[in-house]
């Protein structure tokens, strides 16, 4: 898909994220906004998965280990036609399937997540099954950077390398913030790239909020034959809304009415600018 169209989709997804978080008065705003460009490129440009083939054993799989950023996933899945956008108006309501973390009750979602440090092991098992069965599908999993303090992620990394799972791509949403503060202040992760390389990954870094950079990075997969691929996607928490960017308090804050109006206006401006720039090129 063309970069311009993907950029428009990102704005649309950000708007949906804000709408549903505001509508349900709950959600993980900052983390959803940091990872939404990654999900956009994955679902629109990279993965072989759609509402039509979601039960096909050869479909690509996406497992969201940082389950709390489910609003971004909901926004993308709805737009891709896995369920009607109107369903998201029930987010967090009594008896709704649309809750604050991914569940398989929602069409398009592969695994129930929410407790951190689980997704990578599940992804490793799913990728192993492809190898055992000689299937060509790929497995993608998105981890938060704060989540990397969970030891189980490193257990799974060892196994991914041991079984040479080059059909597995691990994406780190490296927004450098977690609920308490900066990742390097809470429990330092750096040197992160060296750690992943030491664990046996072929590692690539990119700007995780830059559509072109993401596209080019995914096009290089697998980064090495016989190794799992890992992308350190350097992102900005709260990306796209000026006053939310790189701010700890927006981890799971719901915008006030004024903040919401301002945020939507910023997205409208970005949309107009993008279309204006595009027209200028024609």
């Amino acid at each position: 898909m063309q970069t311009h169209d993907l950029k428009l989709k990102s704005i649309h997804y950000r708007r949906t994220v804000l709408e549903i978080i505001k509508g349900s008065s709950a959600g993980h705003t900052g983390g959803s906004l940091s990872c939404v460009d990654i999900l956009n490129v994955l679902y629109n440009d990279v993965m072989n998965v759609s509402p039509d083939n979601f039960r096909d054993p050869d479909r690509d799989r996406y497992i969201q280990s940082k389950g709390h950023s489910v609003e971004a996933l909901y926004a993308v899945l709805a737009e891709r036609g896995f369920f009607p956008r109107a369903d998201l108006d029930t987010l967090n309501q009594y008896r709704s399937h649309y809750i604050g973390h991914p569940t398989r009750s929602v069409n398009g979602i592969e695994q129930n997540t929410g407790a951190l440090g689980h997704g990578l092991s599940i992804a490793v098992g799913t990728a192993l099954a492809a190898k055992l069965d000689g299937r060509a599908y790929r497995v993608f999993t998105l981890l938060g950077d704060g989540e990397l303090a969970e030891g189980s992620s490193w257990e799974a990394s060892m196994t991914a390398a041991h079984y040479k799972l080059d059909n597995l791509t691990v994406i780190i949403d490296r927004n450098r913030l977690q609920i308490t503060g900066g990742t390097e202040d809470v429990n330092a992760l750096e040197p992160l790239r060296a750690k992943f390389e030491a664990f046996g990954y072929a590692v690539w870094e990119c700007d995780g909020n830059d559509i072109d950079d993401l596209k080019q990075t995914f096009e290089r997969l697998p980064f090495a034959v016989g190794k799992p691929s890992l992308i350190i996607a350097n992102t900005v928490k709260g990306k796209g809304i000026s006053f939310m960017e790189d701010t700890v308090k927006w981890h799971h804050r719901v915008p006030t009415d004024d903040e919401y109006t301002t945020a939507l206006a910023e997205l409208a401006d970005a949309d107009a600018e993008l279309n204006g720039v595009a027209r200028g090129h024609r």
Binding site: H118, S121, I122, A129, S152
Partner: protein, 316 residues
């Protein structure tokens, strides 16, 4: 009753036999293939054994991923580590996510004896009973072990199976049917009924034999499935016995005994009642056999407990 094999051996043999004809069966181990008697399995079917090293959380997560693709997955590791270290993965990745992994806790209960509390699993029934969408089976002998492994192949939902590693008495006639969720009544008795599970069934059977020699009508139910619980068989026995004793290789909290107690209360049945298991205290050191004797999971002590309750009940 003759002595059979360890349930562990029967598990490994049965699994290998079935897996040789079904490439969809996969075993996942955490450096536990030796403890699980799965070395022959690994040699015969190397493509069907996934080794993850000493990492129980990862073991369960990977097993869940494999199961999500339709594989029949047996996650095998000592029960003590599997159901404590891996509990969150069992709860979320297996049970909540509907990934029908067969979680197999080997060397369960106090099988590891003097290796100490780190290696004992006396919490697993309680922990897993409170987790939605996982059933619990602890076979008492070789027939029940073979039965549960065969039944597990087509079982649609997550399952926890636990057993030990010492040779067990053969408690059942060879043609005894086995079904998950259906208790086996070994003998009936209107004076005393033992309801036991797993490797605690054998001493209950021997205790019942002692009581019968004294002219006391003693029965034994092998309640191999803790969840879903065979309420009908239990309530029928409970309504027709004067003394009811539960026996389990587990904490007295949260296991078979308390499950039975809640049913007795709910159905207003009040036989003289005792829960035999491991009390809430730091464990004395000893082998599995010594610990069973120390805590009263032995024929003599069970028979004595039954006679005491019977005497007390008669004096009311």
């Amino acid at each position: 009753m003759d002595i059979g094999k360890a349930n562990l051996d029967v598990f490994a043999e049965t699994l290998l036999e079935l897996a040789q004809n079904d490439p969809n069966i996969v075993v996942v181990t955490s450096d536990s293939r030796g403890s699980g008697k799965l070395v022959p399995f690994g040699q015969a079917l190397p493509q069907q054994l996934i080794e993850v090293g000493i990492a129980e959380q990862n073991l369960i997560g990977i097993a869940a991923g494999l199961a999500s693709t339709g594989k029949k997955v047996f996650a095998v590791s000592p029960a003590c580590f599997l159901t404590a270290r891996g509990l969150e993965q069992i709860k979320n990745d297996v049970a909540y996510s509907d990934n029908p992994v067969r979680v197999v806790g080997i060397s369960a209960g106090v099988s590891y004896g003097a290796l100490g509390t780190t290696h004992h699993s006396l919490h697993d029934y309680a922990a897993l009973r409170a987790v939605n969408n996982i059933d619990i089976v602890a076979p008492a002998d070789n027939l029940e072990t073979r039965g549960v492994i065969r039944a597990a192949m087509t079982y649609p939902t997550p399952l926890y199976i636990r057993f030990g590693k010492r040779a067990m008495l053969n408690l059942h006639a060879p043609d005894t049917p086995f079904e998950i969720g259906r208790a086996i009544t070994i003998c009936e008795g209107h004076d005393v009924t033992f309801v036991a599970i797993g490797e605690a069934v054998s001493p209950a059977v021997l205790a019942a034999d002692q009581l019968k020699e004294m002219g006391i009508a003693a029965g034994v139910i092998s309640m191999h499935t803790l969840k879903p619980f065979d309420e009908a068989t239990f309530l029928k026995a409970a309504a027709s016995t004067r003394v009811l004793i539960t026996v389990e290789e587990h904490s007295i909290y949260g296991g078979l005994g308390e499950r039975c107690a809640s049913l007795l209360m709910t159905h207003r049945l009040f036989p003289a009642f005792k829960i035999v298991g491991f009390p809430d205290e730091h464990m004395v050191n000893g082998s599995q056999t010594e610990l069973f004797i120390h805590y009263g999971i032995a024929p003599d002590t069970l028979a004595a407990a039954a006679r005491l309750l019977l005497k007390h009940e008669s004096s009311l």
